[in-house]
């Protein structure tokens, strides 16, 4: 080839060679154009986590239900960043990372289940380790973190998580693996390439949303030079179809995507800046083609993770730290459809200020029975799970009078 493209009098041969390569390249390109839809719309009616708000409009239980559990309370010295997904045959599964300390070589990703009609979680099992990932990807892996689980319309359980080869968390890249047996075992790991600069600084925390064409929209964020949010589109095989930047600057991370209908969705953002310590949000009404500029809500944010889920109609439920400076209060808030206006209805945790208590990284899931599950990091020592039904939620909403 060097001889061919370096020779001086072989223009015809060069053109013929390029033409041959072009002919070879054409079929996959035509196929990709045929399958591409820029804004297919959000599929809000599916079996997974972000289920149709109408479908889970309310549980049929007459009495209020409230339960709380500790997941793996004496398992590992440090646990963090839990996520929840519903299982194809019912029940929920939680994933989190844990080890001797954050970023240590022994940190792995763990999973446990709460099966239907069971009152306690199964024993945790390790689903990914640093050594296994290193072996699968054929490269050095320094640490793991931030798992995100998702049940797609075909019943596959997806697990996304970040890994770091060089540097700190800002050097993360995203990995994905899929389970065909309801989260029991996972297939090979696929590393998503999302940045041209050594593929670093793309992290995941928010749950994906299914699109109407079968693709998946995964909220991701960067935190290297800039701190900004993006949406990544993946096809059902995990091929990256595109990405859309939501914010600029150094203030917005950990986007949480909540679709309202096929065209309308809100993305809530952890605020990592200094000026306006509120939960910010951006919205779309054209299926994600365009998003408005970020706006502040009336909920405070101490630069900590949040999560949100749709309730009946256009109502939304948020779990967040109710403070601009600390993570010692973890609260629930509801919105009647305006993503900027919320009412704080209940504190899941309320520690005395200055005692160093940390309640963070909540993940919320509405299951098909209409029950709401919340998991969060409790002082980094265990993952706490609370579960309540709509009757309980209605009761606390009636008694809640204080706006934030």
């Amino acid at each position: 080839m060097v001889r061919l493209i370096g020779a001086r009098n072989c223009r015809t041969r060069g053109v013929v060679a390029v033409a041959a390569l072009l002919i070879l390249a054409t079929p996959p390109l035509i196929a990709s154009v045929h399958s591409y839809d820029a804004a297919p719309g959000y599929q809000v009616k599916h079996a997974g986590a972000a289920a149709d708000p109408g479908e889970v409009a309310g549980s049929r239980e007459a009495a209020p239900l409230w339960e709380e559990h500790a997941i793996d309370p004496r398992g590992r010295a440090m646990v963090h960043s839990a996520t929840l997904t519903e299982l194809p045959k019912g029940g929920v599964q939680a994933f989190w990372y844990g080890g001797s300390r954050e970023g240590a070589r022994d940190v792995g990703i763990y999973a446990a289940r709460l099966l239907p009609d069971e009152r306690s979680w199964t024993l945790p099992r390790e689903v990914m380790t640093r050594a296994r990932l290193s072996e699968e990807l054929g490269r050095y892996i320094k640490k793991l973190g931030n798992p995100v689980a998702f049940l797609d319309v075909s019943g596959q359980v997806w697990l996304f998580f970040v890994s770091v080869s060089v540097g700190g968390w800002s050097g993360s890249s995203i990995n994905a693996m899929v389970s065909q047996d309801g989260g029991e075992t996972f297939g090979p790991v696929k590393r998503l390439v999302t940045s041209p600069a050594f593929n670093v600084s793309t992290l995941v925390r928010g749950r994906p949303v299914q699109m109407r064409d079968g693709s998946i929209t995964l909220p991701v964020y960067h935190e290297f030079l800039g701190k900004f949010a993006e949406l990544l589109r993946l096809d059902p095989e995990g091929v990256v179809l595109g990405k859309k930047r939501l914010t600029l600057g150094r203030s917005h991370v950990q986007p949480v995507l909540v679709p309202e209908d096929a065209e309308t969705a809100h993305v809530f953002l952890r605020y990592a800046g200094d000026a306006d310590k509120k939960i910010h949000y951006v919205s779309t009404d054209d299926g994600g083609l365009e998003f408005a500029s970020p706006r502040g809500s009336n909920l405070p944010n101490p630069d900590s993770a949040i999560d949100a889920a749709p309730l009946a109609g256009r109502e939304l439920l948020m779990v967040y730290n109710h403070s601009e400076v600390a993570r010692d209060i973890l609260a629930l808030a509801v919105s009647d459809g305006d993503p900027g206006r919320w009412t704080r209805i209940h504190d899941l945790e309320h520690a005395e200020a200055g005692k160093g208590q940390l309640f963070s990284y909540p993940s919320i899931l509405r299951d098909r029975a209409g029950r709401t599950h919340v998991v969060y990091t409790h002082n980094r020592t265990y993952i706490k799970h609370v579960m309540f039904n709509d009757v309980w939620l209605s009761d606390v909403r009636r008694s809640a009078t204080s706006p934030p």
Binding site: L21, L24, R139, K243
Partner: protein, 194 residues
Amino acid sequence: MNAFGYVGWALVLASLGACCSARYTDDWRIKLGIATAVVVAAFAIQLDRVPLIGFVASVQSEPSMAMILILGSHGASSLWPQRLTRLDMGPLHLCIVLLGLVMYPSALGIGYIDLYAAGYHPYTAIGMLPLAFVLAWFAGTRLLAFWVVLAVLMQGYSVGESDNAFDYLIDPIIFMYACWRAAAYAWRRYDGAR
């Protein structure tokens, strides 16, 4: 890392080995032996159960077509300098520098327009095809044509980890190399004009 990554890095390392050994010997068999030894060492020596090539891939998972063409050309010319003419890499270096200067800052969050995001779109690859034809037709730019067409071909058949056409065109390592070459060229011009 998949087969493309392994083969790509093997080519790049072999070329580096050939280039370095050319400073000390003219015998192509010795140069080829050293190039082969470099590749074997990179794949065979393990640290913490990861081969040395895995540490290279930890930084940059796969070499781009630009890196393979540039280092491959240098390596081949080093092995058989009498039989192969050195290619004029100037236009390719210039394209790499220009593309990198636009793409890397925008991908890292400087500005709302993210050129890199367009690389996932099938129309971007389709837009490169007529461009490649035009480049191929005009004398002296066939290397660019091969570069673009090979990148599109690699992306179309998903031979690498990335689904983005730009990752097959350039990578940060070859961008830094091209910047260095461009700066050296500019300095020579400036120094000669003084």
